[in-house]
């Protein structure tokens, strides 16, 4: 069952027209170059942007249906949503942020513990590192017990090493969950690592050829030729 959606939306450069589905307990990675429409797609799933047409269904629930005029606001979609950066509430502590929409305090403590944030619980978001902020954002999203987890390039503002660690942590924690996860990224490695399914989006449409081009090793003869043409560098002291 899980999540199924067909989405249409006219943007200023192209028209988004995709169909996607993600079973419960699985992760769907949306990948594509910058400006390909993947953020708009995940914002439509969240209810932050209204599609021009199509539907979004989760189990028996209709979140959006243009034919029936149904458009649930984001508040009613029981979401976890992780933005790229700087969406923690600056006036609250790490604990206050993680517990912002939580029902169960014990769960918040367990999440903070899992992400190694217990010692930082009384700090404000600007007093911790970027990686710790994003860990807290994931806690905030999970602590409300969402029925659907959406992540929009959650780690792309972080350095490579931190990104890898967070990717592992996220995978470890979402593997135990039963809800669908939709993960937007422009990083192929990340998409292949995190997604059970990878959906390549280019200019608003699904483009599997683009994905193949990206993951096929480059023509080696051509590479060697270019390397030979490059000027040799020498150092003199």
């Amino acid at each position: 069952m899980g999540l199924t959606a067909a989405l249409k939306k006219k943007t200023s450069f192209f028209t988004i027209d995709v169909e996607l589905s993600c079973p419960d307990g699985q992760t769907l990675a949306l990948i594509g170059p910058s400006g390909s429409g993947k953020t708009t797609i995940i914002r439509m799933l969240a209810g932050l942007v209204k599609p021009d047409g199509g539907y979004i269904r989760y189990r028996d629930e209709i979140l959006f249906d243009s034919a029936r005029g149904i458009h649930l606001p984001p508040q009613k979609r029981k979401l976890g949503y992780v933005f790229q950066d700087y969406t923690l509430f600056p006036h609250l502590t790490i604990y206050g942020n993680a517990a912002f929409a939580a029902r169960d305090r014990g769960e918040v403590d367990a999440l903070l513990d899992f992400f190694g944030l217990t010692a930082l619980r009384d700090r404000k978001p600007h007093e911790v590192s970027g990686g710790e902020r994003q860990r807290c954002a994931v806690c905030q999203a999970l602590a409300r017990n969402p029925q659907l987890l959406l992540l929009d390039e959650p780690f792309s503002a972080l350095d490579v090493v931190t990104r890898r660690i967070l990717r592992n942590e996220l995978k470890a924690i979402t593997e135990k969950r039963t809800f669908p996860v939709v993960y937007v990224t422009h990083d192929v490695t990340e998409a292949l690592f995190i997604g059970n399914t990878v959906l390549p989006i280019v200019a608003g449409s699904i483009d599997r050829e683009w994905m193949e081009r990206i993951v096929t090793p480059a023509d080696e003869a051509g590479l060697r030729q270019r390397a030979a043409r490059a000027p040799k560098l020498s150092l003199t002291y």
């Binding site: 209810g47 932050l48 508040q75 979401l79």
Partner: protein, 217 residues
């Protein structure tokens, strides 16, 4: 020294500021987060008191709040007395006069908040009203406080509007700015000096506070 005009000014400014912040904050939030046809026209109408001479605003309010005016008649029906030349009258006039001076800075401090904070509150299940109180206000409280102080000072110094609507009734509508003017008119320079002098530390202290509040933000 006669303290009554100073007391009246402070009372007028405190009341008007308290009411204005309560009115202006939701209004500013609505203006920042909504778009509808004709919005800029309505907003310009709200902002007219910034551009109009205070005596012109005072003149229109004098008419509206008078026995033949809409507001004056409604007040008379509700409370059984006139609105013109009363303390309540100058409070109401000051609110209209200072409204844009409250809305504009509060709006500016709301606009400084990253719109994604609002979106994050929405996806976490908060209604727009809950978002206003739990996210917007706590993150713009310094800006709102600074706006309140500026409105307070602006109302403390109001002259034209208050004179038109309230006249100069001792203990009722003769606020400090009017008392100073009248003291000069009747050549009581010592009184004018003392009342004027009282404004300097008040205004200076409040401006320092505004500076502090906005710098921290």
């Amino acid at each position: 020294m006669e303290l009554l005009p100073l007391y009246l000014s402070a009372k007028l400014a405190t009341l008007a500021t308290a009411i204005l912040v309560v009115v202006a904050a939701p209004l500013a939030y609505f203006l920042v987060h909504s778009s509808w046809p004709g919005k800029s026209f309505v907003e310009a109408l709200f902002n007219l008191p910034i551009a109009l001479p205070p005596t012109v605003i005072g003149f229109y309010l004098l008419y509206l709040m008078g026995p033949k005016g809409l507001a004056g008649q409604a007040w008379e029906n509700l409370f059984g007395g006139p609105l013109l030349f009363t303390f309540s009258g100058i409070v109401i006039a000051s609110i209209f006069y200072s409204l844009p001076f409250a809305v504009q800075p509060i709006k500016a401090s709301f606009e400084k908040i990253d719109p994604r904070l609002k979106e994050n509150a929405y996806v976490l299940g908060l209604s727009p009203i809950a978002t206003f109180f739990r996210v917007i206000i706590p993150n713009s409280i310094n800006g709102v406080a600074a706006a309140a102080i500026l409105v307070f000072l602006h109302t403390m110094g109001a002259f034209g509007v208050v004179l038109m609507v309230g006249g100069s009734i001792a203990g009722e509508t003769r606020v400090a700015s009017i008392a100073i003017y009248e003291a000069v008119e009747s050549m009581q320079y010592e009184k004018a000096w003392l009342l004027s002098l009282a404004f300097i530390p008040i205004s200076y202290a409040f401006l320092l506070l505004v500076n502090r509040l906005t710098r921290k933000n």
